[in-house]
Symmetry: C2
Subunit: 357 residues, 2 copies
């Protein structure tokens, strides 16, 4: 998108204010409902929150408080293809849930895994994926304690779907909460953005692009630990920018905290290959899924210490301070572009990258 004038930005903000908070539901579920953007939020609000109303779910964090210092998180994985440069659905399913727990400041205690397998799926492929899950669980220091397997007829799945659920224990004394975000807080990311989504898209072979990209899938529990050791109470909240990317996560936080977040485009780390693939596809890397990166909102006085801690960790070498929280306009994410302009970074309306995780 081209940079917009200040008037255009103000106009967009006004239009957003006038828009009803929740749109009427579509009559059928579309791929957009699974993309993590606007349609997903409407579905969550209108169907799931309405029926399951409870404070733990309502908080809509990466993991939900259960009782005492315990948190839980669940994720279904439907990525296509099942194996891609840098990982596979098994590793992704373990890391994805470990990371959701880590974003709640929790150490993983146990994982469960449920498999829906399409009839005719090669047993050797299943074995390879399960071995990869086991390796990822070992790397995260957690056991898969329970599981389930269902088989459906040919044509009723796409090889294999995996749902992992994690139980974690929150670091003592920690209180990560978007409500604690204040104007002046800094936005940090732990490394380059968009690598997972682009690696998966290219692995599908439909784009006829020959770019060497690897998924960034990695467990973030240890990176989170060093960050919290360094910046402790000054860390307001953590998110892993998966489906919908950093743009979606920052929109959720801006809405929840009723504050604005301004991102400096020039400061956002993106690999040249990922950037090239995004340009060819016309997709902003801010919207592309990451599976081994975290975003942290940190009080200004601790931002440098947090950045140094991230950079000292192998998974945080490319960490950067990419933005700042402001008071106005509430609920909005703005991008200061490399061209000196500014534009609204809204939630995704469609689904440019289906089945990325």
């Amino acid at each position: 998108m081209a940079a917009r004038s200040e008037e255009q930005v103000l106009e967009a903000i006004e239009a957003r204010r006038r828009r009803p908070h929740v749109k009427l539901m579509d009559q059928h579920v579309t791929l957009s409902h699974g993309a993590g953007g606007k349609a997903s939020h409407v579905l969550t609000e209108m169907v799931f929150l309405r029926a399951f109303e409870n404070p733990a779910l309502r908080a809509l964090g990466d993991a939900a408080a259960v009782t005492g210092d315990l948190v839980m998180s669940t994720d279904a994985f439907v990525v296509r293809p099942l194996t891609f440069p840098g990982g596979d659905i098994g590793e992704l399913a373990v890391n994805g849930t470990v990371n959701d727990l880590a974003m709640a400041g929790a150490v993983p205690l146990a994982l469960t895994a449920a498999f829906v397998i399409e009839e005719g799926f090669p047993t050797a492929d299943l074995e390879r994926i399960v071995v990869s899950m086991a390796a990822a669980a070992r790397a995260a220091g957690v056991h898969v304690v329970a599981g389930d397997t269902k088989v459906v007829e040919r044509g009723k799945a796409d090889g294999l779907y995996v749902t992992t659920t994690g139980l974690g224990r929150v670091r003592p004394g920690l209180a990560l909460d978007p409500a604690s975000i204040r104007p002046g807080d800094r936005v940090l990311v732990s490394g380059t953005l968009g690598d997972h989504g682009m690696a998966v898209m290219i692995a599908r072979g439909e784009l006829e692009l020959e770019i060497d990209l690897e998924s960034d899938t990695a467990p973030l529990h240890d990176l989170t630990r060093v960050l919290l050791d360094a910046a402790g109470d000054h860390v307001r909240c953590l998110r892993d920018p998966t489906r919908g990317g950093l743009a979606t996560v920052l929109n959720e936080l801006a809405l929840s905290a009723e504050l604005a977040i301004v991102v400096d485009e020039a400061a956002v780390p993106v690999r040249p290959g990922t950037n090239g693939a995004c340009e060819i596809l016309g997709i902003d890397p801010l919207y592309v899924a990451n599976e081994g990166k975290l975003a942290a909102i940190v009080a200004p006085e601790a931002a440098d210490a947090a950045l140094a801690a991230l950079r000292a960790h192998p998974l945080g070498a490319d960490a950067a301070i990419v933005g700042e929280v402001r008071g106005e306009p509430p609920g909005m994410v703005l991008l200061d572009t490399a061209f000196g302009g500014s534009r609204v970074v809204d939630m995704l309306a469609g689904d440019p990258l289906p089945r990325i995780c």
Copy 2:
């Protein structure tokens, strides 16, 4: 099956002993791998246990010990059709996981739910199913605290798959364990068998049967509570005979305890309609899934008290003592038939009732 002579039974036992414990794997996953019988056990042993090796998973209970008094259980639901007499996939998914926790003697603390939805699925159907899940969760006194939604393209699912995971806390001082089973223990079931599986099969409309059957889907946490109040330490272990039915559950327990279980066919409660449908399909109701029944192994001195407690509960009105544990032949389940003969009740080899849960 016709009743076999004693020689035939002895022959079957000998054949079973000669059989290698774990067969070589098939090269492709088949529906049998999802049926809960022999193929499922081979897959679990050869793929999942081998990769995920840990004591909690190895125990292969309905729910796995996590830490302290916490247990977890996960289940994927792929039942077809999504709605059937007596329930729907949503209610089933909540009750199924609540029951797995209850069979570990645990009170549910929290549930999570993950949805894989096929593009084009009617939003109104999703809403109805989610409302039904919420009602089931309220009935079991538990919240759905976390969730996830993924959407896959048309033809890559069958409407909707739901995976629920539960966290529970085990009743203080309770130690349910198949290793505590002793010769002389009684086998109790809490009611009529086979209703869920047959209701779902008939709801598919492929059988051209006009029998009025309802699924027995129900949460068993309260029935379990009254049973444990009445028989406490005398309850050796509990199982809910879902996929694969009572026959599968008893085979697992007999193998695990290295004891024999003898079932009295005449004592097994089966509704006439269910029995009729089973006869037409040539399926033994012992192999048919239940979703609101428990099987309990109880010390002989407490069997009557346990039975009375079950019968006093609305979900246990048809409870019965259906069998007894013996020392020999170890690992076998035998049925004393109504005709005075005896036959081996082996694990399922194929999958006569696919996608029943």
